[in-house]
C-alpha cells in the first residue's frame, strides 16, 4: 500500500511533466504483474534454477516496472491448473508456465482469462493468448558430443533421459552425431528415468551406466546428482540447464546453459509496449538462448578448440547440428549427404541415430 501512495503522489505531482513519456508505456503506472510457475524447487540448480535466473534478469532490467511472483514445485496436471488459475485470479497479466505438462492446464485456464497473456515453455499448442517458447538445447548437445568424442576412453557415453519426446530425442541424436564425427565407433547408452527431477533415480542411473562401461555422462534431467556420482568415480559428466561445476569441480566438463533471461526481457517489453502477440519461439545459440558454461581446465586446448568450432559452425549455419548423411540405429539412411533436418522433421523426431541404444 505504501508503494501505491508514493506512486499516487508521483502521478499527481508529475502528471503533466511525464505525459509525453507515457506514450510507450501504454499501460499506465502500476507495475506489470508477471508470474512464473516452476516445476522443481529453485534449488534444483538445473531447469528451474535457469528459469529463476531468467526472472532475475527481467527484474534487473525493469526494476519497479514489474512485480513478479513465483510458485515452485508445482506438479504437472490438476495442481498446476489450480496454481495457474489462482495466479490469473490474483491479477497477474503475464504468466510463464515452465514445463511441458502445464500445456493443457495453461490452455484451459487461458480460455477463462482472455485478458491475461500466457507463455508456455516446451509445448506444441498455442492459442490467442497462449504463446509457446523453447530453446534449441540440441545445439549445445552437439558441442558436448564433440568434447565426449575426444575425452571418452571407453568410447561409450551414458545418457540419462526423462521421456522420449522430440526435445529429448533431438539431444540424444545431436550428441551422438557429434561424438561419432570424432570417434566413428562412439556409442550412447540411454537410460530412461521417467522423471524430470528425481536426484535419487538420476544418481542410480549414472552408477548403472558407469557399470555398463560408460565413462562420461550426459543428462536430460534437472539435478546435479549424476555429476556427483561421476565425481565420486573419478569419471566425467556434462551439466544440464546451468553451470553445475560447484557440485563436481573435476567431473564437470561444461554445461548447456539455458539463458531464458533474454526471452523474458523481450516478452515483458512487448507487454509493456502493448504489442504482445501469440506465437512460437525457438531460439538457440545464435540468439544467445543456449550457451556453454566455462570449459573445465582438464579439457585439452585442441579439444576446446574443436568444441568452439562446432559451436561457431552451428551459429553461422555452415555445419548444422543435424547435417547429412544420417542413418538411424537400424541402419536405414534417414538423410542423404549435403542435407540438413529442418525444424518440422526435428519437431516430430522419433528415431535414434546410429550408435544409440535406447
Amino acid at each position: 500500500m505504501t508503494n501505491f501512495t508514493r506512486r499516487n503522489i508521483l502521478k499527481t505531482a508529475g502528471a503533466a511533466a511525464t505525459l509525453p513519456l507515457l506514450g510507450t508505456m501504454a499501460r499506465g503506472t502500476a507495475p506489470l504483474k508477471v508470474a512464473f510457475v516452476y516445476l522443481g524447487p529453485i534449488g534444483d540448480h538445473g531447469w528451474t534454477y535457469a528459469h529463476e535466473q531468467g526472472r532475475q534478469a527481467a527484474i534487473a532490467q525493469y526494476g519497479d516496472a514489474i512485480e513478479t511472483t513465483i510458485v515452485e514445485n508445482v506438479a504437472e496436471g490438476p495442481d498446476s491448473e489450480r496454481v495457474i488459475r489462482n495466479l490469473a485470479e490474483q491479477g497477474n497479466e503475464l504468466i510463464f508456465t515452465t514445463s511441458f505438462g502445464y500445456m493443457n492446464p495453461t490452455l484451459k485456464v487461458a480460455k477463462r482469462y482472455k485478458n491475461v497473456k500466457f507463455e508456455h515453455a516446451s509445448g506444441y499448442k498455442q492459442s490467442k493468448n497462449v504463446a509457446s517458447y523453447n530453446a534449441r538445447y540440441y545445439q549445445g548437445r552437439a558441442v558436448c558430443g564433440t568434447i565426449a568424442g575426444h575425452m571418452s576412453e571407453t568410447g561409450v557415453a551414458g545418457y540419462i533421459a526423462s521421456f522420449p519426446i522430440p526435445e529429448v530425442v533431438q539431444g540424444i541424436n545431436a550428441f551422438t552425431l557429434a561424438a561419432r564425427k570424432v570417434n566413428p565407433d562412439f556409442q550412447t547408452r540411454v537410460l530412461w528415468v521417467s522423471s524430470w527431477y528425481d536426484p535419487a533415480k538420476e544418481a542410480d542411473a549414472a552408477k548403472a551406466l558407469f557399470d555398463q562401461g560408460a565413462d562420461i555422462i550426459a543428462q536430460h534431467t534437472d539435478s546435479p546428482a549424476a555429476l556427483q556420482a561421476a565425481e565420486q568415480r573419478g569419471l566425467m559428466a556434462f551439466g544440464q540447464s546451468w553451470d553445475m561445476s560447484s557440485f563436481a569441480p573435476t567431473a564437470h566438463l561444461t554445461a548447456i546453459q539455458n539463458n531464458w533471461g533474454i526471452y523474458y526481457v523481450d516478452r515483458i517489453a512487448k507487454v509493456l509496449a502493448g504489442n504482445w502477440s501469440t506465437g512460437s519461439t525457438w531460439w538457440g545459440m545464435k540468439e544467445g538462448a543456449v550457451e556453454m558454461s566455462p570449459f573445465n581446465d582438464r579439457i585439452p586446448a585442441e579439444v576446446q578448440a574443436a568444441a568452439i568450432a562446432t559451436r561457431d559452425n552451428i551459429i553461422d549455419g555452415s555445419v548444422p547440428a543435424f547435417a547429412g548423411p544420417i542413418s538411424d540405429n537400424t541402419g536405414t539412411e534417414r538423410l542423404a549427404a549435403g542435407g540438413a533436418l529442418d525444424d518440422g522433421a526435428l519437431n516430430g523426431i522419433d528415431w535414434y541415430v546410429e550408435g544409440v541404444s535406447a
Binding site: 508470474a35 490438476p78 495442481d79 489462482n86
Partner: protein, 358 residues
C-alpha cells in the same frame, strides 16, 4: 514438579476425537514459531496456510477437488484398517483403476453416449478391486504380508502406466509425447454449473456417508470391526476372517480405483505419466487423522487440502518456500501420533507420589 503418564482404565473417547484437533492447533502454534524464527512472518504464514483457504469461498472449489480423491481412498482404506488389514498400496489400486477407466475411454474415443462415463467408472472400480485382490489372495492363501505385497504392487502399476503411455496408448497425434489423447465430452466428468468442480467431488462425500452407514448399520460393518478388534471373538462368533480380509481389501481397492477414474476423467482429462501424485499414500494420513471414521475422514481430507492450497497461497503472497506446506503436513502427523498417547494415558502433574504409575 513432574509430569507423569497414568494409564487409563479405558481409552478416553473424548481424547480420541480431541487429539486430532489438538494436533492441528499445535501445528499452527509451532509453525508460527518456527517460521518467525526463520525470519518470515510466522502468524501470517499460519493465516495464509490454514485460515485463508478455509474462509475464502472462492477457494472452496479447489479444496473440494483436492480433497475428493483423498476422502474416497481414505474411506476405502479405513474399512481395511478397522479389520487390521494393512493395505498400503492404495496408490497402485488408484493407478490401476484409472488405467482400466482410461482403457474404456480409448476404446470408445470415437463414440458418444451417456453410458460411456458410467462404464469407465465401473471399469475403475473393478480394476482397483482386481489389483487389491492380488495382495488379499496372497495373504489368505500363502500368508504373505499384505503391507509389503500391496506396497510393491504400487511400483508395478507405475511401470505399467509408463509402458502404456510410451507405447500402445500414446496419442498418435501427440508428437511422441508420452500421454493419451484428450478424453471426449462423453468421457469427461461433467462440471457443476459454471464452476470447474466436477461431479466426482460431491460423489466422494456421498460415498463416504454411505460407507459410514455400511460400517455402523450392517452386519458386514460389524463383522469387519469385530475381526479387527477381537479376532478370537470373531472366530467364536462364526465370522470368516479370510472373507473379511478379502472384502475389506476389495472395498479399499474399489474405492481407490473409482477415485482414479474420477481424477483421470475429471481434472486430468487424459492419462499422463505424471498421473500418480501420491494421493494413495496421503490418504493413509487422512484415514488416521480422521480416526478411521467417515465424518472424520471428510474433515481430515479437507484439512489436508487446505494445507496444500494454503501452501501455494503462502508462496504467492508471502514468498514462503514450497517446503513450508510439507513441513506443516509433517508436523500435523507428528503431533497426532504424539498426542495419541493421551487416548490411553492421562497426564498427571505433581510430585512423584508413591504408587503413581511407573
Amino acid at each position: 514438579m513432574l509430569l507423569e503418564l497414568e494409564a487409563r482404565k479405558e481409552p478416553s473417547r473424548s481424547m480420541l476425537y480431541l487429539t486430532p484437533v489438538i494436533a492441528v492447533l499445535l501445528t499452527m502454534v509451532f509453525g508460527a514459531v518456527i517460521f518467525t524464527l526463520l525470519g518470515y512472518n510466522g502468524l501470517a504464514a499460519v493465516r495464509e496456510i490454514f485460515i485463508t483457504p478455509a474462509i475464502d469461498i472462492g477457494r472452496w472449489p479447489d479444496l473440494g477437488i483436492k480433497a475428493a480423491p483423498l476422502i474416497l481412498i481414505a474411506t476405502g482404506l479405513s474399512i481395511g484398517f478397522r479389520a487390521n488389514v494393512w493395505n498400503i498400496g492404495a496408490e497402485g489400486q488408484y493407478i490401476f483403476g484409472a488405467l482400466a477407466g482410461t482403457g474404456v475411454a480409448l476404446l470408445t474415443w470415437d463414440m458418444e453416449g451417456v453410458w460411456i462415463l458410467p462404464l469407465m467408472c465401473l471399469a475403475g472400480i473393478v480394476g482397483g478391486m482386481l489389483y487389491a485382490a492380488i495382495p488379499a489372495l496372497l495373504k489368505i492363501k500363502l500368508e504373505v504380508n499384505e503391507i509389503l505385497s500391496s506396497l510393491m504392487m504400487t511400483y508395478v502399476a507405475v511401470q505399467l502406466l509408463y509402458y502404456l503411455m510410451r507405447g500402445p496408448w500414446m496419442d498418435p497425434e501427440g508428437f511422441n509425447f508420452p500421454q493419451t489423447r484428450l478424453f471426449s465430452d462423453s468421457q469427461l466428468m461433467p462440471e457443476i454449473g459454471d464452476t470447474f468442480v466436477h461431479i466426482g467431488v460431491p460423489l466422494a462425500f456421498i460415498i463416504a456417508l454411505i460407507a459410514w452407514f455400511t460400517m455402523s448399520k450392517t452386519v458386514f460393518g460389524f463383522q469387519v470391526r469385530v475381526v479387527g478388534a477381537a479376532p478370537h471373538a470373531a472366530r467364536y462368533g462364526g465370522f470368516n476372517k479370510n472373507r473379511t480380509v478379502l472384502l475389506s481389501m476389495l472395498a479399499g481397492g474399489g474405492l481407490a480405483g473409482l477415485a482414479g477414474v474420477f481424477e483421470a476423467a475429471g481434472p486430468f482429462g487424459q492419462m499422463v505419466p505424471q498421473f500418480p501424485t501420491g494421493y494413495g499414500f496421503t490418504a493413509i494420513i487422512v484415514a488416521f487423522l480422521g480416526r478411521l471414521h467417515p465424518i472424520g475422514i471428510m474433515l481430515a481430507g479437507v484439512i489436508l487440502a487446505i494445507s496444500y492450497v494454503g501452501g501455494e497461497i503462502a508462496q504467492t503472497t508471502l514468498g514462503l518456500p514450497n517446503a513450508a506446506a510439507g513441513l506443516f503436513q509433517a508436523m500435523m502427523l507428528f503431533f497426532l501420533l504424539a498426542t495419541d498417547i493421551l487416548v490411553k494415558y492421562r497426564l498427571r502433574f505433581g510430585s512423584a507420589a508413591p504408587g503413581g504409575a511407573k
